[in-house]
């Protein structure tokens, strides 16, 4: 019974940052901007939340600063792709590199090695928000002007423009949403860990992206994918050292599961390809 409770709790702890980041990616990719920079945006948020919270002693200020940093990087992404027509993948890579370097730099420069304890965030509020978010987004794209325009721009920016919609403006709003959600995801990761280590996000931005693709760029299946990833990750922790069906698989095999599932989805073995038609179009 205790195991089950641990499993559920672990799933939520591991799954919620993924949900936030994946839905952040949803806004970006649905507006047509390929986003491999979720990782970098989360990472810059983690270090900012960490340092600012400790400096001010106020988690609220820390989280606000983390979100701001993430938004700033997201705006940079918008600027590069929309104003200067840079390839979204190249600029995404650059943002990841800059975030990785900056986080390492700030951590090494400013973290006090004797720092003990990090104030816990109101985790329950985060969890409820993260679990409800995909439903809210689902309602949003169906029943609001902003949602309709988001899908239209991501599907065919030129035709949307002809109808009086401004793709750059829509993408600006979408990338702000991406920044906010990646910022929240980063805050949650720091809070869960309670301490800071280099490369704190450890590839979770890519797992979130994988969940988004696995979910066919739809909010509710994406939620399911995030929860599944969290579940398997936690299961892997709890099963470590024990045998399943007579064999003890190394943990790395478990960690591969999200990536393998995503490859299978990309190969079209899980139904039709649902890539937004305008993904990557200027």
């Amino acid at each position: 019974m205790n195991d089950l409770r641990l499993l559920l709790e672990g799933t939520v702890i591991l799954g919620t940052p993924l949900i936030l980041a994946a839905i952040g990616g949803y806004f970006s990719e649905r507006s047509g901007v390929i986003n491999i920079a979720l990782e970098g945006k989360m990472l810059i948020a983690t270090i900012t939340v960490w340092l600012v919270t400790i400096a001010t002693g106020q988690p609220v200020i820390g989280v606000a600063a983390g979100i701001s940093a993430s938004i700033l990087f997201s705006m940079f992404h918008w600027l590069l792709t929309q104003r200067y027509s840079l390839d979204p993948i190249v600029s995404g890579m650059a943002i990841n590199a800059i975030a990785f370097g900056a986080a390492n730099f700030l951590d090494k420069r400013f973290t006090d090695p004797d720092q003990a304890g990090f104030p816990k965030l109101p985790l329950m509020a985060f969890w409820v928000f993260a679990l409800m978010l995909p439903f809210l987004v689902w309602l949003y794209v169906r029943h609001t002007r902003g949602g309709l325009r988001l899908l239209a721009v991501g599907s065919d920016p030129d035709k949307a423009r002809q109808m009086g919609v401004f793709p750059q403006r829509t993408r600006f709003m979408a990338l702000i949403a991406t920044g906010v959600l990646c910022g929240l995801a980063g805050a949650l990761i720091v809070s869960n860990a309670g301490s800071y280590v280099d490369n704190m996000t450890a590839g979770r931005g890519f797992i979130a992206l994988a969940a988004l693709i696995l979910g066919g760029w739809r909010p509710l299946p994406t939620l399911a994918a995030c929860i599944a990833f969290g579940f398997f990750y936690q299961l892997q922790i709890q099963l470590q050292g024990t045998q399943v069906l007579g064999i003890s698989a190394p943990r790395e095999l478990w960690l591969c599961l999200p990536y393998i599932a995503t490859l299978v989805a990309l190969a079209g073995l899980l139904g039709r390809n649902r890539t937004p038609a305008g993904l990557g179009k200027p």
Partner: protein
């Protein structure tokens, strides 16, 4: 875009970061150069970065000409290195060296193949699939050296070491320069001539630039895409193998220090001219080696080199990869 304004902002950012870190910028720049080029030993260290960056850069470059963003060189490099170490350790003498490199080429090609197939047959973006393959390569190779291929005589997750006498020989002593450099140079020149002078090279670039037009020109674009991805993967695998047989002598967990990602920067900087891979790889190698020195000497965290790298990618992408201006009809 105002390239110079961007450059100025980048320089300003880096300068500011140095000041924040409490280092004198001029001193830092000096130790960066000193640490990467200033002595035979420094140069040796830089070459150790330069060679794999150059070959991995060729792999990325080749794929780019076929219209593919092979972010997966990181994974192909890792798989190639692992397979090479495992094969070389199980074969006697020189045979192991050769068989190891060949096996690495095959392994790299196989590791890239799914991405090419998914792109050509299913329209799935190769960037996403190669990111997934990279992560799988990282996890599985760690599992491999933690489990079946671990050297029982050592604590860490590593294979045993190859007999130094059976490693790739040097072509120069003091600074020691491995024959791997020769291989790298041959790769660059070979790819340059092949793309520019042969019909298959022309067809590969046509398929990359406009697959539909290429198809109507009698080119089997999906086949070319899959093949280009596999060849790129093979080159990436060879880059990993050479790192084993020329420098490290073994494979260990976390083998690639991000060569695959740096290689993307190397190739982007080179644009459409493969010969620019030389200076471009040199720049990245100097940054990689020199940043270790400035961390030790000037107390500037190594992270700054990634910031510089990211800014460089943005600046050069801005110069080379701007979209053709839309014209009114």
């Amino acid at each position: 875009m105002k390239i110079w304004a961007l450059l100025a902002i980048a320089v300003g950012l880096v300068y500011g970061a140095l000041v924040v870190a409490g280092a004198a910028p001029a001193d830092t720049a000096q130790s960066l150069i000193q640490g990467s080029l200033g002595s035979a030993k420094a140069l040796e260290g830089t070459m150790k970065h330069f060679t794999p960056l150059l070959i991995a850069g060729v792999a990325v470059f080749f794929a780019l000409r076929a219209g593919l963003f092979n972010i997966g060189v990181e994974g192909q490099f890792t798989v190639g290195a692992l397979v090479c170490a495992v094969v070389a350790l199980r074969m006697p003498g020189w045979l192991g060296l050769i068989a190891g490199i060949l096996a690495a080429a095959v392994a790299g090609a196989l590791w890239a193949y799914p991405a090419g197939w998914i792109k050509a047959m299913r329209g799935g973006h190769e960037v996403i699939s190669t990111i997934m393959l990279n992560n799988i390569a990282g996890q599985l190779s760690t599992a491999a050296v933690a489990g079946p291929f671990k050297d029982p005589n050592q604590q860490g997750t590593t294979t045993a070491s190859i007999d130094p006498a059976l490693m790739l020989p040097s072509i120069w002593q003091d600074p020691r320069i491995s024959a791997a450099l020769l291989v790298a140079v041959l790769f660059v020149i070979g790819i340059w001539r092949w793309l520019g002078r042969t019909v298959p090279g022309y067809e590969l670039q046509a398929a990359g630039a406009n697959p539909r037009a290429a198809t109507l020109a009698g080119i089997d674009a999906p086949k070319v895409t899959i093949r280009a991805m596999a060849i790129s993967g093979a080159i990436g695998g060879i880059a990993g193998a050479l790192q084993v047989v020329a420098y490290e002598g073994r494979f260990f967990a976390g083998f690639s220090s991000g060569y695959g990602f740096d290689a993307l920067g190397v190739a982007l900087l080179a644009g459409s001219n493969p010969l620019i891979l030389f200076p471009s790889a040199a720049l990245f190698a100097i940054l990689a080696k020199g940043s270790t020195t400035i961390q030790v000497m000037n107390g500037v965290p190594k992270g700054i080199s990634f910031v510089i790298l990211g800014l460089l990618i943005v600046i050069f992408a801005a110069i080379r990869y701007r979209k053709v201006p839309v014209k009114e009809s």
